[in-house]
């Protein structure tokens, strides 16, 4: 950024200061009214509107601060929970809103300082520089430099002031910049949470991608080689079958039979292992993978999926393994004959619902060191779901039916 450009932008910023500072003070007044009347209960809803509303003020100030050369990150958006009272509480406690309100109060001296500096340097500079003009034109009869030397001296002083103005205003804007930086961005804890959320999402996606790579390498490399090996062993076996009878050949045949069998078993185990790492059909969408899962289940499983928007791979993987585990649980423990799997993608969330017509009475066990029974399986699922800020709900009265709902974000 060139110096003249910066000076122009900072001057523009200073010129907006009276307006923004005044707007902030008016807002403060409203907030103060809300606080004072909150004892009577009327003020609380007003305050609940004002506090998150101050984010708008903060956003305007944050964008304007860009003129003064301050880049501030946006605070995290306000997430309102369900329920009127919860919403009220969250709105009243909105840190970003309160910080914007505090900013509009404490910025007043800083704004005055910056405005005074700009007025003094730019304003007086121009006036003094133009001294010979207005003296000659006798615009201000009360003011007179008292002759040409005085007028020229005033001009020179005016020039010096103007030359010093960019640096002076920049300096005087220091407190304004500092306040914008500390109060208009995310709070330190919020910024930390944001970083953690972002890095966690990266870690989750990374892990999913790594598993996919491992799966592909095993599938394209190891598994293909094993198939070829087993096939070759079978070809050798057929060749040997043509040869005549001999005790040594018989022993070789038996060994070969065993080797062929082992190769096939290894291949089957590897195939199961690969499927457990990452089901390949997931790459083509959750629905295709779940169709196979439903068909392979010993129960009658009705699958109803409606996914207009595709979740991220990590979320698809979690949803798939949740369904697999839940269906396995149903088959193992509930005594159910049918299960229903319902999958919906709506409003940025993926909702999975697995219900059965079994005996019910399932519970999520608290954390224990000895994993046994269904409870710990559900506990493990709940933990897995939590990795992406998802939730797992269980409704399983004795006598059934059991309904498990899993709520996940579409993007981790």
């Amino acid at each position: 950024m060139g110096k003249p450009k910066r000076a122009g932008r900072e001057l523009a910023y200073v010129l907006t200061l009276p307006l923004t500072a005044a707007a902030g003070l008016v807002y403060l007044l409203i907030v103060a009214m809300g606080v004072l009347s909150s004892a009577s209960g009327i003020g609380l809803p007003l305050l609940a509107l004002c506090v998150p509303g101050a984010r708008g003020l903060g956003a305007a100030n944050r964008r304007l601060a860009g003129l003064a050369g301050v880049r501030v990150a946006k605070p995290a958006p306000l997430r309102l929970p369900a329920g009127l009272f919860n919403r009220l509480g969250t709105a009243l406690g909105d840190a970003a809103g309160w910080r914007a309100i505090i900013h509009s109060l404490v910025r007043v001296p800083a704004a005055v300082l910056a405005f005074a500096a700009a007025a003094g340097l730019w304003g007086f500079g121009v006036i003094l520089l133009a001294c010979p003009l207005w003296w000659q034109a006798a615009l201000f009869p009360a003011l007179t430099p008292g002759g040409w030397p005085g007028a020229l001296l005033a001009s020179v002083i005016g020039l010096v002031l103007l030359l010093a103005a960019p640096a002076g205003v920049h300096l005087a804007l220091g407190p304004e910049r500092m306040l914008a930086r500390t109060l208009l961005g995310p709070a330190p804890a919020a910024a930390r949470i944001r970083t953690l959320e972002e890095t966690r999402a990266l870690a989750v996606d990374d892990a999913a991608a790594a598993l996919r790579r491992v799966e592909r390498d095993l599938h394209d490399g190891t598994a293909a080689r094993l198939v070829t090996l087993a096939m070759s062993l079978d070809m050798v076996r057929e060749e040997l079958a043509e040869a005549g009878p001999s005790p040594r050949l018989d022993r070789a045949r038996a060994l070969l039979e065993g080797a062929h069998h082992t190769a096939k078993e290894t291949l089957a185990e590897l195939t199961d292992l690969i499927r457990g790492i990452h089901p390949a059909a997931l790459d083509n969408g959750l629905e295709i993978a779940l169709t196979t899962l439903a068909a392979r289940s010993p129960l009658t499983v009705a699958l109803d999926a409606d996914l207009p928007e595709r979740p991220s791979p990590a979320v698809e993987t979690i949803a798939f393994f949740c369904t697999a585990e839940l269906l396995a649980n149903v088959a193992k423990h509930s005594g159910a004959r049918r299960a229903e799997v319902e999958l919906r993608a709506r409003d940025g969330r993926l909702r999975l619902r697995v219900s059965d017509d079994g005996a019910g009475g399932a519970a999520i066990s608290p954390h224990t060191d000895t994993p046994t029974g269904t409870g710990t399986g559900l506990r493990g699922l709940a933990d897995r779901v939590r990795v992406v800020d998802g939730t797992l709900g269980l409704h399983s009265p004795p006598g059934g039916p059991t309904v498990v709902t899993v709520d996940l974000p579409l993007r981790a």
Binding site: V227, T228, T292, A295
Partner: protein, 214 residues
């Protein structure tokens, strides 16, 4: 018979070529992706194409899509699709345009070359060969379907084996039945599914199709 192979893992592709040519088959081309497969089939006019489901560039289902494409473009061409995993949806897509001369097998079945070669012969002859795994999955998917409700459990068993491409004598052997009673079951299946007497092979294919679509 003349065969075109599409498999991206070189070691397995070479192994298949060796196996098939050592058994007197003519491997006209061995390619590594779906587009080249379509070209090779158009050029060599094989009796059967052996296609891996997962191939470059996306390694998901391009082999399947290529198989469906060449079946549409070349009626009468036998297609054997094989894969590490059987996906119910893929099976349904592959069989949507009819089950004549189609096979869908797990890759590991290649390890039993006698069965594999027999499957190729049957596909070339226009029959259907489905992996037992496909049959299990489709049976699972159609358990609630009413279409097969009229069949007795034994008849369902026989039908499932027909879907695997087995002959009546092979079914008799596997289910420990006499050849005659298998024939009786098959006739019962045809009657219950409303398939009138015509070319018996064709009726078999139709019965399998009915079974798959249920």
């Amino acid at each position: 018979m003349r065969i075109v192979i599409a498999e991206d893992a070189v070691v397995l592709r070479d192994g298949l070529c060796l196996l098939l040519s050592s058994r007197g088959h003519d491997v006209a081309a061995a390619v590594g992706d779906g587009d080249t497969l379509a070209e090779a089939v158009a050029e060599h006019r094989p009796d059967v194409a052996v296609v891996d489901v997962r191939m470059p560039p996306t390694h998901t289902d391009e082999g399947l899509r290529a198989a469906i494409g060449i079946r549409r473009d070349h009626p009468g061409l036998g297609v054997l699709v094989f894969s590490q995993y059987i996906e119910t949806r893929y099976a349904a897509q592959l069989l949507a345009d009819g089950a004549r001369g189609v096979g869908y097998l797990l890759k590991e079945r290649v390890a039993d070359i006698k069965d594999f070669l027999a499957a190729l012969d049957r596909i070339a002859a226009g029959q259907t060969v489905l992996d037992p795994e496909v049959v299990t999955q489709i049976m699972g998917a159609s358990r609630r379907a009413e279409a097969l409700g009229a069949l007795t459990p034994r008849e369902r068993e026989v039908l499932a084996m027909m879907a695997q491409g087995r002959s009546n004598s092979a079914i008799a052997e596997a289910l420990f039945l006499s050849y005659g009673s298998v024939e009786k079951h098959v006739t019962q299946i045809f009657t219950k599914l409303g398939l009138g007497p015509s070319d018996s092979d064709h009726r078999r294919v139709l019965a399998v199709l009915r079974f798959l679509q249920a």
